[in-house]
Amino acid sequence: MTHEELYTTFMDFVEKNDEIGARQFLIDHLNDFPEEIRKQIAFEFFVDAVKKDEAIESIQKRALEIITQE
């Protein structure tokens, strides 16, 4: 895909408010993006995963506390 096609196809997902499709598009075409953008996208998935991991950990810990207390 050319850069223009990447941008316009991605914006089609945005226009349709299709967040899941947009995420999948980024993954499916990760290696088509210019080097710096590819690295940035790859890194953002890591930051996203860390934040979710922390949130899940927090939910699980609180759940454990409640189970233990009750």
Binding site: E19, P34, Q40, A42, E44, F46, V47, I59, K61, I67
Partner: protein
């Protein structure tokens, strides 16, 4: 003036610096990468004028004192970056894929060696441009270091053991932890725990695909159905512990629950931008073209300029657009905000030649 101040700074600070050698302001500014990041820090703090005076070499005495305070902040951030960088390993990265299939896919595309290198390279900028995200990462890495690889397994195993002990219905437990609102989630969990349940019989039934398709299809909520469809392949492989882990992989339902958890303090909602909010701020060809037309109209004798001069104006215009866009995005920390932020270059690349 900067040199004079640097001399005074060296004579005062270096001999008593307990942390060992710490680069001076001059040294920070000498290295291109550090200098860029220091500029980002000033921008983040709204010190654009100070950054401009620094770039032009027009600093005052009070500017230098202020800059040195920011240098201390900067060095503190870089210390934390160093700590995180030293902890990043393939094993640690792998630990984050445990609950995140998107990350698994990205790593498989990039290759784990390169991925490790990308993460390490991007940490310093993250610490300056998105300090909240960096702090989340710092806390998480510290926590994982404390407990090493066994931590999550132990946490999940404890949940399983306690559910058995308290005769808690696992399906109800799942539904409860996925409640989006933290207060409502807590109440739901308490209700589940109080109810108790014949755990083993129900769990066996629930874990069986046959039971799901036969008896429970009509009564299961959309939430449960989503989890089932997303994790059929994981349940067989991971058994009982995996049964809890499986509910915590990335899918829409979980993302909502987790998003609320990430937002935490309602005050943070201002910086937690979702997909639909961010998309409205994305530059469009039409908007940029309109702005370009206005810009061009103000350039005297545009038609008489040489092609090189016209190109210079196009580049200057796009730089300004990018700066405005980055300023708009600079306080936002969500996944989509960062993705869109990185897209401006792609957008600019395809539009530079179309600015007629």
């Amino acid at each position: 003036m900067l040199e004079r101040f640097e001399k005074a700074l060296h004579s005062q600070e270096n001999p008593t610096n307990e942390k060992g050698y710490e680069p001076s302001l001059k040294e920070v500014l000498k290295k291109k990468e550090d200098s860029d990041l220091f500029g980002e820090l000033l921008k983040r703090e709204g010190k654009i004028n100070l950054a401009t005076r620094l770039a032009k070499g027009e600093l005052t005495e009070s500017d230098i004192e202020e800059l040195d305070e920011y240098r201390t902040d900067f060095m503190g951030s870089m210390d934390r970056v160093k700590t995180v960088k030293e902890s990043i390993s393939k094993e640690l990265i792998h630990a984050y894929t445990r609950h995140n299939s998107d990350l698994q896919k990205v790593i498989s595309l990039v290759g784990v060696d390169e991925y490790e290198s990308i993460v390490k390279d991007k940490l310093a900028r993250l610490s300056i441009t998105a300090p909240d995200d960096f702090e989340a990462l710092y806390r998480s890495v510290e926590s994982k270091n404390d407990y090493k690889d066994g931590y999550y397994k132990n946490l999940d195993e404890r949940v399983v053991a306690l559910c058995k002990e308290k005769k808690i219905n696992p399906e109800e437990y799942f539904k409860a932890i996925l409640v989006e609102d933290p207060d409502e989630r807590e109440e739901a969990l308490r209700t589940v725990v109080r109810k108790g349940y014949s755990w083993f019989g129900k769990a066996t039934d629930w874990l069986s695909k046959g039971a799901y398709s036969r008896d429970d299809r009509d009564t299961l909520t959309d939430t449960s159905r989503y989890i089932f469809s997303a994790n059929d392949d994981m349940r067989d492989a991971q058994g009982e512990v995996g049964y809890f882990l499986a509910a915590l992989t990335s899918n829409e339902v979980i993302r909502n629950a987790v998003s609320k958890e990430i937002i935490g303090d309602p005050a943070n909602k201002e910086v937690f931008e979702g997909f639909s909010t961010i998309k409205n701020e994305q530059p469009t060809k039409e908007k940029v073209q309109l702005d370009w037309n206005s810009y061009k109209a103000q350039v005297k004798d545009w038609a008489d300029l040489t092609p090189d001069d016209q190109d210079m104006h196009r580049e200057s215009f796009l730089d300004t657009q990018k700066e405005l866009y980055e300023k708009q995005q600079s306080k936002k920390t969500s996944f989509w905000s960062s993705i869109f932020g990185s897209f401006f270059d792609l957008f600019a690349t395809i539009n530079k030649d179309s600015l007629k």
